[in-house]
Symmetry: C2
Subunit: 247 residues, 2 copies
DNA sequence: GCTTGCAAGCTTGTATACAAGTTTGTGGGC
DNA sequence: GCCCACAAACTTGTATACAAGCTTGCAAGC
């Protein structure tokens, strides 16, 4: 594949996985072309590839936008992840020691980063656990699929403001690895199902994704000074179910 | 999405699923452009999308080719299908009657087509069962993934000359649906795993995909007159493991 | 007769120009 | 003061021209 185009694609995807690009972000062709030092042609190529991967969308003659999955699409993404990840664990007969060691190392890294309070790389690592798992137990094809799905769920999480429970997620991961080590893959699958269920349940899928995300930030710049990385206090109006998109 | 480009993409994919396009087929941009009455730009767009879906590949300045999965890639594709399809069956709690009815109808159609000896639509229907299942039990996202995977395995089957056992496959499908009807999803999953295993085992993955496919046909055009749709007799030389790609 | 080098033609790769449509800012009318 | 219409700027959509490279056929040399 084209090195430059592949770079753009990869750069954007990994930025999404790292939570550095929010859903709904506009990705102008010319802007990206300047940024990467290539022509619009290559940018378009990368964007179209990302579109088939379900990561960006084009709005005719308006531009490319990072997808903002609907509640329905969010449910689909989580169901799909549940199906594939539990399926993977249940299909595998035994876990090689090398894989176990590598997974344990990953979980340890998670804990470390969480304790250090590094918010930005935290989300990335938590998602990476699943990609790592697919890579270790499955194959490249499976990994690619999981990676795209993880990008989706990462965007969904950003969109539906989850009650972030990084420690709990990491703890879940630990439990899954423990079950794998014990050779109880069925239990590992059950825990995985539960884990994904928890993440999904932590979202407020009844609330529509607010098109005004970031507005609160603009209105209260002081909050950015040095506050704790806890969940920002949502204002009451953002919970009103009567708010329509046209507002 | 672009209607014309989407059509090209869809046309090629469904042609592959129907077995009407063989692996390794060259897809010239200009040829396709003329065929569909569009410009090369649109064709390229469709091809790049199909490339990210793993259906075609580009060889620099030589052209686009329908993929010819290696033995390794074939194994990956089957593993991935096993993971997802058994995962789907095991994730589902209960099967709605409407779904059961629809699946039964599909299996009945399979039997009918097989008895009628319609070879071309037979392979299509057998693959369609899995797509149909994903659609009925899963969601659009899952269906899309399974569809792409089915396209892959269809190409793999063409490439590695399986011992085609259409009746057996259809019978397997029937068994899976029966287990679903009995409410035993775990058994259904087990049968699905077994079924996919059988299809994979029916292939000769030790034989490299012969780059001379179709050569035998050219040498023996008489065989095309009106022979039975049974498996063509493979010549002994095609089994020689010492044949290298450079031959 | 066989091999090797060259050239012509064909195919994709890439950029660019222009067309078509959307957004936004401005000015006039009410 | 508010609303509406128009125009200018900006963005993507599409085609086309040209560049770069591969394949193949031909001819010359051995």
């Amino acid at each position: 594949m084209n090195p430059a185009a592949a770079n753009i694609e990869e750069a954007i995807l990994s930025a999404i996985l790292a939570g550095r690009i929010a859903p709904g972000t506009r990705l102008g062709e010319q802007k990206l072309a300047d940024l990467f030092g290539v022509s619009r042609t290559r940018v378009r190529e990368a964007m179209m590839r990302l579109e088939t991967r379900g990561v960006v969308q084009v709005s005719a003659r308006r531009g490319w936008y990072v997808v903002e999955p609907s509640a329905e699409e969010a449910r689909e993404a989580f169901q799909t992840r549940r199906v594939i990840e539990t399926g993977l664990l249940q299909t595998v007969r035994e876990v090689p020691p090398r894989v176990l060691a590598s997974l344990k190392k990953h979980v340890a890294m998670e804990r470390q980063v969480i304790e250090a309070g590094d918010v930005s790389s935290r989300a990335c690592l938590l998602g990476d656990f699943h990609i790592h798992l697919a890579d270790a137990l499955g194959n490249r094809l499976l990994t690619e699929i999981i990676r795209d799905l993880t990008a989706r769920t990462t965007l969904i999480s950003m969109l539906y403001q989850p009650t972030e429970k990084a420690e709990e997620s990491s703890h879940d991961h630990e439990g899954i690895v423990a079950a794998m080590e014990a050779g109880d893959l069925a239990e590992a699958a059950r825990l995985m199902d539960e884990h994904i269920g928890k993440v999904e349940a932590g979202l407020d899928l009844t609330a529509r994704p607010d098109p005004l995300a970031g507005l609160r930030e603009l209105l209260t710049p002081a909050a950015f000074a040095g506050n704790t990385p806890s969940v920002p206090h949502a204002h009451s109006h953002s919970h009103s179910p009567s708010l329509r998109k046209e507002d």
